[in-house]
Amino acid sequence: MPTPPKNTADQALLQSVTAFLYQEAKYLDALDYDSWLGLFTEDARYWIPLKRDAKDHAAELNHAYDNLLMLRLRAERKSTPDGWGQQPPPATSRVIGNIEVAQQTDGTVQAECTFICWQWYRGKTGSMGGRLFYTLEPAGDSWKIRFKKVQLPAPEVITGADGVMY
């Protein structure tokens, strides 16, 4: 479990991860999926479980358990005129908060945060919130996402065709 920063090194780490998560959110709001996909490692996984207490992505039904190919296919749909579920593209504005980080002995970082996403889609406004969990690995002076879990608020969340990525 991540803990609040205790010293300068911790604070530097928190600052660095915070900048990274803000950048990710900015790419998603800008619908800049090429840049967003560039934040993931080649072997990355992107998981949206169906349930809050999901444990086994393989044996349970998920909303998504993507490898990089699936993420690319999603992104591709968003720039295609007949990707009907993306026409017109959704507009979003998201706030990332409550960021916590924990350095692991293997050099990776476990990070988690909350998000609130205001969204507009096909004439309707709405919002989604939830919690994001990351495994980040160092890449130059920044990070790459090896694993990301999007925890939506409840299994009963009924999803329309809004096509918003979190």
């Binding site: 044996a59 039904l61 190919l69 007949d82 990707g83 999803t159």
Partner: protein, 431 residues
């Protein structure tokens, strides 16, 4: 008015069928309350006290397994002031207790006594009058539980199922060697909601005409990945056996991807787009006895048909779809993945789950596009002209197949005509 144009090349329905509150109210009563509707699957409520809460055309219902193994459909409405007595979607209950004034009901719906009974004169003489109401009839056909809410069924369930019974039988034989208890639904559901009439989802689930238009991007991506994997067949994706659209009677219909009972191995072409698809398929092949690999590859893949069981159940791909009307232009669809209870390799069910997530689910790459089309249809039908909604594709060109079913090209609107004719007939009978 009864449809008299079922065989005419002018077959069409009025736009009010997708919009009008009066039409919707009549449908809920005549179709959802007075005739057979799908409730849930037996695997969801295996033990006494197990329940599944569902919405049946606005009637909140608790489907509960009884101590003797039978199934009851209890109206989820306290006999006192009307509060629901069950909130959970699924669970096991000894009793259902109203949160408002504490009235408690046994799992068979019996109310022993009002809480704090002293201020009720002669409550002992009113025994039975403060029980939960129940659906008139609840009955299972090979794992699928149906009910009639408000009256005695006009037809026995098996007659009502008509040709759908045969398709179910053949499918259960091939999926589970005839033992339907080997088929179960995954314990969690996905849901989608769209701004449109419930019949749009029913019609779309058995519509092969829309595939290359609504899902063009999906198929382009699939072809590309198949090509990259060296798996793109020259003669196309699908089986060389002829597909068809069939009218199964009583509003039921199916798209048969291959003739009924024929083998349909569609797994290999889905593997390149499924995360860990190849590894999971390799594991299936290594864990399943060699002489059963082809059978289990088929069982790990989609059903050889899309079948609409009138009015609210679709068996399609890897899933059951329950269509839950909310208002004339508001509908919820519930998706549940059909799984094998005791597969020889966990890879079998994993491949089914992954395909569901990838294609059909609310975050899938295909079914979300249908939802947008439903909403655009709802908007478009605001215009009163040029004409009613056309469902006349392939009229007059059908034949009768070897099962005695009206049959046509898989893109013909036979399923939609079958469905809408049944809607019209049931409303006409109720009028």
């Amino acid at each position: 008015m009864l449809d008299s144009l079922a065989t005419s090349d002018q077959y069409s329905v009025d736009r009010d069928r997708y919009r009008s509150p009066e039409q919707f109210a009549r449908e809920m009563q005549a179709i959802f309350h007075e005739n057979w509707v799908y409730l849930c699957h037996a695997s969801e409520i295996p033990a006494p006290g197990d329940f599944r809460r569902v919405d049946v055309g606005g009637i909140p219902l608790i489907v509960v397994r009884q101590d003797d193994g039978s199934i009851k459909g209890l109206f989820n409405r306290c006999a006192h002031r009307g509060t629901t007595v069950c909130e959970a979607t699924r669970g096991n209950a000894e009793r259902f207790v109203c949160p408002y004034h504490g009235w408690a009901y046994k799992r068979d719906g019996r109310n022993q006594a009002p809480s704090l009974p002293k201020r009720y004169a002669n409550w002992k003489d009113r025994k039975g009058k403060t029980d939960l109401a129940a659906a008139h009839t609840v009955q299972e056909y090979r794992g699928f539980i149906f009910g009639v809410m408000n009256r005695a069924p006009a037809q026995p369930l098996e007659d009502w199922l008509a040709g759908a019974k045969k398709v179910l039988d053949v499918w259960i034989d091939s999926m589970a060697d005839g033992d339907h208890t080997q088929i179960c639904l995954a314990p969690d559901s996905q849901f989608s909601r769209f701004r449109g009439n419930w019949k749009l989802q029913c019609e779309n689930s058995v519509d092969a005409y829309h595939g290359e238009f609504v899902h063009g991007i999906y198929f382009r991506q699939l072809f590309k990945e198949l090509e990259a994997a060296g798996q793109l067949k020259k003669d196309g994706l699908f089986s060389s056996l002829p597909p068809s659209a069939v009218n199964l009677g009583n509003g039921h219909s199916a798209l048969l991807h291959v003739p009924l009972g024929k083998s349909y191995d569609s797994l290999d072409m889905r593997i390149p787009m499924i995360p860990d698809g190849k590894e999971t398929l390799d594991r299936l092949i290594s864990e399943v006895p060699a002489d059963e690999v082809n059978i289990w590859k088929e069982r790990a893949s989609i059903a050889p048909f899309n079948m609409g069981i009138f009015p609210n159940l679709v068996i399609l791909g890897t899933q059951t779809r329950r269509i839950i009307p909310q208002s004339p232009t508001d509908t919820i669809s519930e998706y549940q993945v059909i799984l094998h209870k005791n597969p020889p390799s966990s890879a079998v069910n994993e491949l089914r789950l992954r395909y569901q997530e990838q294609f059909y689910g609310p975050y899938g790459l295909a079914a979300v596009d249908d939802l947008v089309v439903f909403e655009r249809t709802t908007d478009g039908l605001g215009a009163p002209r040029p004409a009613p909604v056309l469902l006349n594709r392939g009229t007059g060109q059908g034949t009768t197949d070897e099962n005695g079913w009206e049959s046509g090209d898989i893109t013909d609107e036979i399923p939609q005509r079958a469905f809408q004719s049944q809607v019209a007939q049931l409303l006409d009978q109720a009028a």
